[in-house]
């Protein structure tokens, strides 16, 4: 079976800055792919590319293919891409506080998706909206549908955004940091809802997050981005047990666990470079504890690693530096 | 302090943009013409030579002559003196008073702020020309009257803008940080708030000078500005309106001078805004 979403060597530029460089990803139905990396690594840009929304931010795909269900979105007309958005691909943004149109009632914002893509009448669309809201455990769905966005809490708004993403009966959901702006206890609720959607409906979920905890708990596979390039892409268990790329390893060591001893927390020295000053060779080499001269000279190729995994590193594999 | 050192390069950076350079060059030209008018022109602005009246543009009189046979270009240059200096001085007074009022209201808040806000909002919703007309009526026509009228007419705008800037800046964490170090009101106002509020206020003062030139011209047109024989761009047109059909140049050229100068001020202001990167802070306060 071909993957539902496949990125093959996708490069993206905004103006003259090459911000993504040869990203390749695969996501099957019923799976959750976690996309992680520090800010500035290109996570959100990847999401915008997969949504076909790059023109909104002045970007374009320069090389590569983005295949959704076998068809290359890069080669499609804008109308064809638009027919996919909302219908087969749902989108969840980071900040639910700003994601809804503040001057339109909640219900109408969800209705429009099923009316547009499923051709439902307004009454049928509203019935479907209420059903979705109830499934997402929104209390008093009828009243909430008539409410204005500012009357809802952050967690409730994020559920509305999820309902909007589900209204077109999509196969794929792309969620860009869906919990970052929420309180801790509400984050857990939203993640649980998303995980249940994949389990119960057989959706595919591209989950962009900086939270390695969320990744460890719900993802099937993990793709690690660094400075616009893919560092490592593997199933979740081995990547946490034995990270192949030093960057992945560094990311897991940043977060305190219950058993982390005082002083055992390690930051990554320096900061993510911007597109204007990407280093030569492996872009991580100035911050890498294992770097050797080859790392600054040549860009490591993305090669197969372990079981069903790929890594781009001259010195892959576990082992402390 | 670095605060004083930074605006100067911004002016130069504004000159580096093609539009900014063109607009800036025109403004420099007008200012130079105003300052050096006696040196540049072989004519006097006030000597009447009635037999040379109503001449069309020629080699001797590049823009022609007016109803008293005076050279129009010469009068335009002398007129620039009045129009530019009255507008600029009036706006300067207005900015100084407006910044003081706005900063005090924005920083100290409370009842004083509410009073200032109510009065300023009320004045702001009245057209500048009305305020100016009434004030000139109180003070009497002439340069002083126009100067005061323009200052007062724009007071509300600068008070509003400064207050809005101070209110926004007050919420910045670096103000709280300064307070946590033990800083008093003086330090916070003069070392943090005002230096940061300065750039948008000064740029908007520059743009307002353009509006003030138009206002000065309008008052002059009503015969309330500089009194004859002193020319100002406005008063030149006041005389000209009756002669519109006979000799359009008398009113055409001063009007063009106003329009082109104001356009130049706007374009240069725009270049300054871009150079200072303060576009988002220049929005009209709502």
């Amino acid at each position: 079976m071909s993957p539902l979403l496949e990125l093959q060597g996708v490069s993206v530029a905004i103006a003259h800055a090459q911000l993504l460089d040869g990203i390749s990803l695969r996501l099957d139905r019923g799976q959750i792919l976690g996309l992680v990396g520090e800010s500035g690594s290109g996570k959100s840009l990847t999401a915008m590319a997969a949504m076909g929304l790059l023109p909104l931010i002045g970007g374009r795909v320069t090389t590569g293919a983005i295949r959704f269900d076998g068809q290359d979105m890069v080669q499609m007309t804008e109308a064809q891409r638009r027919a996919l958005r909302g219908r087969r691909i749902g989108f969840i943004t980071q900040n639910p506080m700003t994601a809804l149109d503040p001057v339109q009632r909640i219900g109408a914002q969800i209705d429009v998706v099923s009316r547009l893509h499923l051709g439902l009448s307004s009454a049928a669309a509203r019935a479907r909206t209420l059903e979705l809201m109830t499934q997402l455990r929104i209390p008093e769905a009828g009243a909430v549908a008539e409410a204005w966005p500012h009357q809802l809490s952050g967690g409730m708004k994020q559920r509305i955004v999820i309902a909007m993403a589900l209204a077109g009966e999509p196969d794929l959901i792309i969620a860009d940091e869906p919990t970052t702006a929420l309180d801790v206890t509400v984050q857990a609720q939203i993640i649980q809802i998303l995980a249940a959607l994949v389990r119960d409906r057989g959706l595919a979920l591209l989950l962009i997050t900086h939270d390695m905890g969320v990744v460890a708990q719900v993802c099937d596979r993990v793709a690690v981005l660094y400075a616009g390039r893919l560092a490592e892409e593997r199933p979740v268990d081995p990547i946490f047990a034995a990270p192949a790329h030093p960057y992945t390893r560094a990311l897991t060591l940043c977060i305190p666990r219950d058993d982390t001893a005082r002083g055992a927390l390690h930051g990554i020295p320096g900061a993510v470079p911007t597109a204007l000053n990407y280093p030569s060779g492996c872009r991580f080499h100035p911050r890498c504890p294992k770097a050797v001269s080859a790392c600054s000279a040549t860009q490591p190729a993305l090669v197969a690693y372990g079981e069903d995994g790929r890594v781009a590193c001259h010195l892959p594999g576990p082992g402390a530096p | 302090m670095t605060a004083a050192a930074r605006p100067a390069p911004a002016v130069l950076r504004a000159f580096r943009r093609p539009v900014g350079a063109l607009a800036g060059a025109w403004l420099l030209l007008v200012i130079a013409a105003a300052i050096f008018a006696p040196l540049l022109s072989p004519y006097e602005y006030d000597i009447q030579t009635l037999k040379e009246a109503y001449q069309p543009p020629s080699a001797a009189h590049w823009l022609g002559t007016d109803e008293f046979g005076r050279d129009l270009l010469t009068r335009l240059m002398y007129g620039a003196r009045t129009s530019l200096s009255v507008s600029a001085i009036a706006i300067l007074i207005s900015v100084l008073c407006g910044m003081t009022l706005g900063a005090a209201a924005g920083y100290f808040g409370g009842r004083f702020d509410r009073l200032v806000t109510v009065v300023v909002d009320l004045t702001w919703s009245f057209p500048e020309i009305l305020i100016a007309l009434i004030l000139v009526a109180i003070i009497g026509p002439g340069t002083t009257g126009v100067l005061v009228a323009i200052s007062v007419a724009y007071l509300a705008q600068f008070t509003r803008l400064t207050r809005a800037q101070i209110m926004t800046l007050k919420g910045e964490t670096f103000i709280e940080a300064a307070r946590s170090l033990g800083a008093g009101s003086g330090h916070i106002l003069f070392r943090h708030l005002l230096p940061n509020a300065l750039a948008p206020v000064l740029v908007s003062a520059m743009l307002a000078t353009g509006d003030a030139i138009i206002l000065e011209a309008t008052l002059g047109f009503f015969g309330l500005g500089a009194q004859p024989p002193t020319p100002s761009w406005g008063s030149m047109m006041s005389a000209g309106s009756a002669l519109l059909f006979k000799s359009p140049g008398i009113i055409l050229f001063p009007g063009l001078a106003v329009a082109i100068t104001v356009i130049a001020i706007n374009l240069f202001g725009d270049a300054l805004i871009a150079a200072l990167d303060i576009r988002s802070r220049m929005r009209p306060p709502q």
Binding site: M156, T185, A188, M212, A216, G267 | F174, A178, N196
Partner: protein
Amino acid sequence: MSQPLIRVEGLSRRFDTGGGFLKAPRSMWAVRDVSLAVGQGEVLGVVGESGCGKSTLARLVLRLIEPTSGRVLLDGTDLTTLGAADLRAARRRMAMVFQDPYSSLDPRYTVADVVTEPFVVQRRPVPPGAVAEMLEAVGLPASAAAGYPHQLSGGQRQRVGIARALALHPEFLVLDEPTASLDVSIQAQIIELLSGLRDRLGLTYLFISHDLGLVRYFCDRIVVMYLGAVVEVLPDTTTAPRHPYTRALMDSSFSPDPAQRRTLAPLAGEIPSPFALPAGCAFADRCPRADARCLAERPPLDGDPAHPTACFHPL
């Protein structure tokens, strides 16, 4: 616990809003009757979700906002009654590091201006070599001094903020979510830095955070707040929580370890509006253990003095 450097007694703060023309005013208690002590050299963590009052508490402790009632004692001196001159003198002994590394530095100040501002404000001469020394202490090169904040990364800016806080050699630092706006990789750098500075300079910290995992890593004791009040004080980082809210907070954070994968049982509902607090326990409507008493009566913070809990039905 050693001799407390900071003692907070019955601190409360009410905020009033609205009350315009023909409009009813509303008021909320951002901080309700909070008492706590921070020992010399201790790191006390305050953890809670948005609206729990932790940031207000931080500002009350430094008297950046005035309390409605209660006292804050620094080494026995009541900060809440000090006059302007005495308060300014007291500010040499305490400082704050802020959450937002972008808005906490004046964009018109150079890094050197920022770190010498404490001296200017306190009308003291800047000791020669102090700038380079301060920058070195926070891991920045001396060459950074001439730069402007916008030329620095978020982590570097936060280091400048820490250098400013340390300029006058204070004993006590309030850290208000100093890493919440940073990437985890940078967060760990800053935490390491703060940890090292504390060991080297014998500092006392009040560490405000929403991240229980981070607080448990970094702090000696942990105060858990919910809607303006303290619900539990954990005496160390290993003691099991007794308040259901603390438990829920712990269960809501995800362990970065797939081996510890578990089915989540997140807390239902969301934080109620602080303008309409229930009569009883503020947590009652989300609490799995709540009964009629919890709805009617507010539980006091008591029990074991080393591990007080505000709950009628502790775990």
